[in-house]
Amino acid sequence: MTSSQSETTLSPTPFLRFLQLAFEAMRVPILAVLTAMIVGGGVIALAGGNPLAAYIGLLQGAFGSAKALSETTVWATPYMFAGLAVALAFKGGLFNIGAEGQLAFGAVATAWVGYALPARLGMDLPAAVHLPLAIGAGVLVGALWAAIPGALKAYTGAHEVINTIMMNYIALNLVSYLLNGPMKDPNPLNVIARTPLIAETARIPPIVEGLRLHWGFPLALGVAALVWWLLWKTTLGFEIRTVGANMAAARYAGIHVKRVLIITMALSGALAGLAGVIEVTALNYRHELGFSIGYGFDAIAIALLGKTHPAGVILAALLFGAMRNGATRMQFLTQIPVDIISVIQALILLFVAADAIIRFLYRLRVRETRMILTRGWGG
C-alpha cells in the first residue's frame, strides 16, 4: 500500500520519530476503544442503565484500589501470554486459533507434575527442581501440541486454522476427561472436575502477601520483551517474519520454510502453554474446568488489537484485563449485566479489524503498511 506523506513528515530525530510512529500505530486502536465505549454507552442507556455510572464502576473496579489493580494484573497476565502466542504466530503468517487447547494442556501437564510427580518418584523435590520441572512440562506440552498443526501445514499444506480449531476440541475434551477421571481430586466430598492441589514446591509465591498479584505478571512483561527481541533481533525472528510476509520469497532466499513453520507454531504453543502454566503455579494451584475458559479465544482479539506487536499486546491485554476485572464492580454498583463488557470488547475488535470505519470517522490518513496476518488457503 502506498503511503500518503503529504501532511506529516517523519522527524529526523530518532526518539521523536519513534514517538511519532508509536502514536500513529496506536491511534486507530485507541480511537477504536473510545468509539466502542461510546457505542457501548448507548447500548447501556438503551437497556435502561446509566452509562456514566457504569464506566465509573468499571474504572473503580479496575484501578480504584491496590486490590483492584492487583486483580487487573491477575486477569491481564494470561491474556498477555496467550495474546503473545497468537501475535507471534501471526508474524509468521499463521493463525493459531488453538491457543485455548494449548493453554489447557499446558495447565494440565503442569498440574500433574505439581501434584503427582513427587509421589511417583517417591521423594520430595526441592522447589528449585520442582518448579522449573512443572513450568517446563506445561511449556513443552503446549509447544508439542501446537507443533502438530505446524507440521501438518508444512508437510501436507493442511490449513492451520482448521487443524488448530479441531485440536481445540480434542484438547478440551481430553482435559475434561482427565479432570473428571484419572486426574480428579480424590477427596470423597469433591464433586468438581479438578485436580488435587499442587505441592508447595511447585508454586510461584505472590509478590505482596494478601494480594493475588503474582510473579507471573512481571514474567509476562519479560517474555514480551523476549518475543520482541526474538522477532526483530535474531536470525530466527527474521526468518519467521520473512516466511510470514511471503513464503515463496522466503524459500527463494534459502530459508527452510517447513522448519520455520513448525518452529513458529511450537513457539506460539509454548507461549499459550505458559499462560496455563502460570494460572496453575501462581494463582489457582490446581487446574479446574471452570478456570481459564476462553483466554485462548480472547487472545485472538488481543493480538489484533495490539497489532501483533508485543508492546501492543501488553497494552491490549491490560485493557481487556481491566475491563473483565472492573466488570464486577460495575455490576455491583449499577446491576448492569457483565455481558456489556463482551459487547464493548466485540465492538473494539470490529473497529480495529474494519479500521476503515475509524479512519473515516476521524478522517485519518494511512501511513503504515498493511499488517500481515495470515495467508489464504494453501498459501
Partner: protein, 356 residues
Amino acid sequence: MVRALQASLVIVIVAAFALAACAPGAQAPDCSKPETFCVGLVTDVGKIDDKSFNQSTWEGVKQAEKELGAIVKYIETIDAKDYDKNIASFADEGYDVIVTVGFGLGEATIAAAQKYPKTYFIGVDQFQAWAIDDDKGNDLPNLAGLIFPEDQAGFLVGALAAMMTKTGKIGGVFGTDAVPPVWRFGEGYRAGAKYINPNIEIFIVYHNDVGFDKTFTDPEWGAATANSMVDKGADVIFGGGGKTGNGAVIATAQRGQYAIGVDTDQYYTLPEAAPRLLTSAMKLLTPGTFELIKAAKDAQQGKGTFPAGNYLGKVGYAPFHDLDKEVPAEVKTKMESIYQMVLNGTLQTNVPPAKP
C-alpha cells in the same frame, strides 16, 4: 499535522467528559451501618435470569427486599477463579448476608465464612460436611447450606406418574447414581410410584457407563434411552441429571408422552418440552433462601439463632401448566394429600441418603 490534532482533540474532549462525570460519584447505601440490612448474591458461572437455580434463589433474595426491607444486589460470576473476589466484593462493603448459588462455590463460601465471621453466609445446594463430623473446631456459626430432600421430590412425581400412566409402565432417565442427590431423585421416584401401585412396571436407568464429564452432559443418550422406554410402552418419563435428563424430557415430550422435569419448573427452561411437561420435581429455592435470610436478620437482632450447618429446604411439584385439563380432579386431590403427608413426615420415602 492537522488531522492528528483533530484526533487528539476528540480524545481530549471524551476524556474531559468522562472525568467531569466522575465528580458526583454514585451514592450507594452504606451497608456497614447496623440499621441497613444488605443481602448480596453471587451466582455460579451463569446468568441471574437462568430460569433455574440462580433465578429462583434471586427471587428469594428479592422477597427479602420486599418483606424485610433489605438492600439487595447480585454479581454474576464469569470465571470460577473470581468466586472469592465476588464474595469479597459484598463482604468488604459490609453486607450482612451473602448468598452463593451452587455447589461450585462451596469451598469459596466456607473460606469466606471463616474470613468474615460477622457476615452470614447461605450456600445454596452446598452440603456442609463439617456439620456432620465430630470435630467441633471446624464449625462455622455463620454458614448455612441450603440442601433439599430430593427423595421426597422424586416420591411426589413418582406418585403422580403412577396415577397418570395408562399403560402401567413408567420410566426414569438419570445421571450417575454415584452422585447422592441424583440417586435420591431416582429411588424416591421408584418409591412414590410403588406407593400408588406396587405392581407398576418401572424402567429406571442411571447413566453410569460413562465418566463424570459425560454423565450429566449427554442429551443424545438421554433422548435415546427415553425413546427406547417409550418403545417399550412407558408413557410417563422423569428425566433428572443436567443435560442428560433434559434430553430425555425433550425426547419424551416429542413422542407425545408425559415428561417430568427436575430441580426447578422446567416449563420455563425447556420450551421444546413445555406442551407435554406434566410437572417438575422441584427444590423450592425461593422460600428456602428467604427463610434463611430472615433467620440471619433475626439472629443479628438477637431474636433467634442462625441455623448454621445443613438447612433442609422444602421440595414440591410444579404446576401442570398446559396439561392441567388432562389431570383428573381426584389425582390433584390425591397429590395434595400426599404432599401434605410427605411434608409433615407421616409419609416416609424410606430412601437412604446415598446408594448403599
